[in-house]
């Protein structure tokens, strides 16, 4: 199982966290940011990104607005106040999950 499949369940958390740190982003920008932050290790492929973005929007965690760039419509996403709350909950859950994994698998925290 590759890193991408293991991260599939955390896609929403990744998106929400990116938007908390970058205020507003569009789809392609998100894929590139994930690639950059993970040194090319994590690629948002198989079209998982857009359905996840729209799901977060439908759940009320994201809101959108559009801008015309080079004569085409670009859709930007940003966090709603509920989304801001959700990102904090998701980060807490993820932290607890990683701590449990470290204990269960006897892993040492990653160092860079």
């Amino acid at each position: 199982m590759g890193m991408n499949s293991m991260l599939k369940g955390s896609l929403q958390t990744i998106i929400l966290n990116l938007l908390e740190n970058n205020s507003q982003m569009y789809g392609y920008e998100i894929t590139q940011k994930v690639k950059e932050l993970s040194d090319g290790e994590v690629l948002l492929t198989e079209g998982a990104l857009y359905p996840a973005l729209h799901k977060l929007e439908a759940d009320g965690f994201l809101e959108t607005f559009t801008q015309v760039v080079d004569n085409r419509v670009r859709k930007y996403y940003r966090l709603t106040s509920e989304g801001g709350e959700e990102v904090r909950n998701k980060l807490k859950e993820t932290e607890a999950f990683i701590n449990q994994l470290q204990v269960l698998l006897n892993l040492k925290p990653a160092s860079k």
Partner: protein, 222 residues
């Protein structure tokens, strides 16, 4: 890489054939063109587009499935917003505007002593408003988005249009029987306009919710 106008037109035609809805087209089209900006100028256009679709969307055959998931989420979002627009009017502070409106309707109906049939006609007219708005939405959509493709929101707008028509149709069919009951219990006619005033206020709230949903779609149109 900066695609030529002909290459851009080719990509547009291809995506229009593969994707049914305006929203998914706009997003995938922008994604591919944004990705192309970071590719080498001398690369083959078609091969590069194929590679982007394979890398970022899992291949050409996955586009319809991705679109279906996008459309489902957009429709869910649309339903959530519509519910919100309607329910919010039943809460403070909006309800404090509707209470005097409802009371004013009651006093106007009472002062005019309108026949139940006349009240029904007013109600039917109000319930037809979402249908007119839906027609205008189709008309305006073509200009505002410069695209006549279907929208993932169409289904929800269809529902908001048909629901009041079904209710009105049901009301017309059942009215002769309801009339007898309502008049017998002094709910309707015989100088009592409480129920008509409540129904007209709710119909007004419904129309406001449909209008807000309509405005929300065009909020960021060009």
């Amino acid at each position: 890489m900066k695609p030529t106008p002909q290459q851009t037109a080719e990509l547009t035609n291809y995506l229009k054939k593969e994707l049914k809805f305006r929203e998914s087209f706009e997003e995938i089209y922008d994604h591919i063109l944004s990705a192309l900006e970071h590719k080498a100028d001398d690369a083959n256009f078609q091969d590069t587009v194929n590679a982007i679709i394979k890398e970022d969307f899992g291949g050409h055959n996955r586009l319809p499935e991705i679109e279906k998931r996008i459309a489902t989420s957009i429709a869910d979002d649309c339903r959530r917003k519509f519910r919100g627009f309607f329910v919010d009017q039943l809460k403070a502070p909006s309800i404090f505007y509707y209470l005097p409106i409802g009371a004013a309707l009651y006093f106007i109906l009472d002062a005019l002593q309108l026949a139940p049939k006349a009240v029904q006609v007013v109600f039917v007219l109000i319930m037809f408003c979402p249908s007119f708005l839906a027609l205008f939405r189709y008309f305006k959509g073509g200009y505002a988005f410069e695209d006549r493709s279907a929208s993932a929101r169409d289904k929800v707008f269809g529902f908001t249009t048909w629901l009041p028509l079904w209710l009105t149709g049901g009301l017309i069919l059942w009215m002769p029987k309801l009339d007898v009951y309502f008049i017998a219990h002094a709910i309707w006619g015989s100088g009592s306009y409480v129920l008509p005033a409540i129904l007209l206020t709710l119909a007004m709230m419904y129309n406001v919710a449909v209008y807000k949903l309509y405005s929300d779609e065009f909020k960021f149109a060009k």
